[in-house]
């Protein structure tokens, strides 16, 4: 029997990229966020934390941790549109995909549990920085989405305009050091912004680097905290060379760090960067990595990036496995104390 047309062209994975790019650009222009949502969600986590607005060292979250629950919901919505049996899926979904252009207006409502986890990560980071003796300020009006997805997707004109606004806001508070909390924001601020925004050259450090620099100030509980399999995010390990720092911190906090088959610079991607463009392909990559982390034989899996956390969590759920995945900040915060 001759092969079918889908078999000849191969099983294709991507959603309508141009529509997704339009949605992304449209969302950014309307709210400054890549997915539908209220801009206030970026800063609401800090209510009641009594953080100063001004200081030499400021926290810039870039919004990924806060936005991830919304991005997850949005990706799941897109994945449903993509649904259908391999081969004929694009044909089946074609009618629905035409509606993608109006998706920027849909409302996504993440679960309370996911929103609470993101809040806990942010609070843990602040508490860790304070415990390390870092006088951290949080100018709420300056915190925003960094625009990293615009850059990654090649939307250079929209990114440049967005980056200029972000950089102007950051420069207006006159901080000497900007502390970031996820690998993508760290990279885009440190390496990409200076190429797109003339004169933008502040010191940008990940909170992990800052904690490692001040490791002697951190007091952790005594005793064995368990075996932790570390998943290095590509953007820390290969773009920013942040590899030793999380291991040092986990070690000091009493954890035994277990290396998966591929770790450090040789790490394997979680599949997250294409979750909104090619959800099925993204999931297959995540499942490969999830199995690999599992084979390493730890009790907990540590992620250092909200995208990795989200994608690996979904992968384990898809595989029907219950695994304890935790953000590095949560693991370290748990161990703070005499």
């Amino acid at each position: 029997m001759p092969p079918s047309l889908p078999a000849l062209i191969g099983c294709r994975y991507l959603l309508d990229v141009r529509s997704i790019l339009r949605i992304l650009a449209d969302n950014i222009k309307r709210t400054g966020l890549p997915v539908p949502g209220d801009p206030g969600l970026l800063t609401s986590w800090s209510t009641g934390l009594d953080l100063p607005e001004k200081g030499d060292v400021i926290l810039y979250t870039g919004g990924l941790y806060q936005l991830l629950p919304y991005i997850e919901e949005f990706a799941e919505y897109l994945e449903k549109l993509e649904g259908g049996k391999a081969g004929g899926l694009l044909l089946k979904a074609a009618g629905k995909l035409r509606r993608l252009a109006s998706l920027s207006k849909i409302v996504v409502r993440p679960s309370r549990e996911r929103l609470e986890y993101s809040r806990q990560v942010l609070v843990s980071i602040v508490e860790l920085l304070k415990s390390a003796g870092v006088e951290i300020a949080y100018p709420r009006s300056v915190d925003s989405y960094s625009g990293v997805l615009l850059y990654d997707m090649g939307l250079d004109t929209v990114f440049k305009e967005h980056a200029r606004k972000v950089a102007e806001a950051l420069e207006s508070v006159g901080a000497k050091t900007i502390v970031t909390i996820d690998p993508h924001t760290t990279h885009v601020l440190r390496k990409v912004f200076p190429r797109y925004v003339e004169g933008f050259a502040p010191t940008v450090k990940s909170y992990i680097e800052v904690l490692a620099e001040n490791i002697d100030n951190l007091q952790f509980k005594q005793g064995d905290a368990g075996r932790v399999v570390i998943h290095d995010p590509c953007f820390y390990a290969r773009y920013e060379d942040i590899i030793d720092e999380p291991r040092l911190l986990l070690g000091k906090a009493g954890y035994t760090v277990v290396e998966p088959r591929r770790s450090g610079r040789m790490t394997y991607c979680c599949g997250g960067p294409i979750e909104s463009i090619a959800p099925r392909l993204s999931r297959r990559i995540a499942e490969t990595r999830a199995r690999e982390l599992d084979e390493a034989g730890g009790e907990i899996i540590a992620t250092l990036c909200p995208i990795c956390y989200s994608n690996l969590r979904r992968a384990y759920r898809g595989l029907g496995l219950e695994r304890d995945i935790q953000d590095l900040s949560i693991l370290l915060y748990r161990r703070l104390g005499p």
Partner: protein, 116 residues
């Protein structure tokens, strides 16, 4: 900043077509053709920048399925900035007025035979 099109032509044009990068690419073994691997993507980016192909659905699929994870760069013998080439090539597709087209698919044989 350099003109992205010129930058792609300059850097991607150096690809040796050795294929060492493919072994490390997470998407290559899962994709239906070599456009899902770094070697294919770099050469598609090169031809797109030169204006030899248009941004067809196959081109979009190839360039936008990349994770930008840079695993491929670990084995490139001439240290090509592969992820940067691919990201810059996305700019040629995403930017309005630049090469955006719904024209027919490229001939894959043409793409992969061209540089061998």
């Amino acid at each position: 900043m350099k003109d992205p099109r010129a930058e792609i032509i300059e850097t991607a044009g150096k690809c040796l077509y050795c294929g060492f990068c493919e072994a490390l690419c997470p998407t290559r073994p899962l994709g239906p053709h070599r456009g899902y691997g770094p070697r294919g993507r770099v050469n598609i980016a090169y031809m797109l920048a030169k204006g030899e192909i248009v941004a067809s659905s196959h081109v979009v699929e190839s360039l936008y399925s990349c994770l930008l994870c840079r695993a491929c760069e670990l084995k490139c013998p001439i240290a090509l900035p592969i992820a940067e080439i691919i990201r810059n090539a996305r700019g040629l597709i995403a930017e309005p007025g630049l090469n955006a087209s719904k024209s027919p698919s490229i001939n894959r044989v043409q793409v992969f035979a061209r540089r061998t």
